[in-house]
């Protein structure tokens, strides 16, 4: 029995991976890793969903049936990490563009 949200996560991971594997443009490789990271964030959040649950916040909560809080905290951490990694890789891409005038990974030693 497969759940649709998990299947969707796996499809998005594959999309990201295909960008990393097939694309030659460095910015698209960065986008691919970012997509994979987002898909995994989605996976963490959907792991912690409980049917009928509300966000684990007591301010004006309609019910005490709540989804799991830890995955949301982990997702917060992993979003920020993904942001930092993306910023770092983009600045490398900027430098590479400055040196070679191109973002194509085939022009140099760099292969995937």
């Amino acid at each position: 029995m497969i759940s649709l949200p998990f299947l969707a996560v796996m499809v998005i991971i594959s999309i990201g991976l295909s960008a990393v594997i097939f694309r030659r443009n460095l910015v698209k490789i960065v986008m691919g890793t970012s997509i994979v990271a987002s898909a995994i964030n989605l996976f963490i959040v959907s792991l912690g969903y409980r049917e009928g649950g509300v966000a684990p916040i007591f301010t004006g909560a309609p019910t005490l049936e709540m989804v799991l809080p830890t995955p949301q905290a982990l997702t917060l951490t992993s979003i920020v990490i993904d942001l930092a990694v993306t910023a770092m890789m983009l600045s490398f891409a900027i430098i590479i563009y400055k040196h070679y005038g191109s973002l194509d990974s085939r022009k140099r030693r760099l292969r995937e």
Binding site: M1, M10, S14, S18, A73, L83, A87, S91
Partner: protein, 87 residues
């Protein structure tokens, strides 16, 4: 070459779908004791209505320190890489 890549991708996808099949059904986690502890006692122990906040800054505060320092490291890295260099 392109065939090898497509084959790799298909294999990876099959592998990931196999993992998704094995995961618990959506909306029905197998075990929830740790998170139930947070929901039951988080408000009393930390005084925060937002349980996610209490997990982020209290129960798993060290992760958050690491996370903030990752942002710091990334900022330092961006400045280092994009600094003005006299040739």
């Amino acid at each position: 070459m392109i065939r090898v890549k497509i084959l790799t991708l298909v294999l990876l996808f099959a592998f990931l779908v196999a993992c998704a099949v094995q995961t618990h059904p959506f909306g029905k986690p197998d075990q929830t004791f740790m998170d139930d502890y947070f929901i039951q006692n988080g408000q009393a122990e930390t005084g925060s209505n937002n349980i996610v906040s209490s997990v982020v800054f209290d129960y798993r505060g060290f992760d958050t320190l690491g996370e903030a320092s990752i942002l710091f490291a990334a900022a330092m890295g961006v400045f280092l890489v994009l600094r003005r260099v006299e040739k």
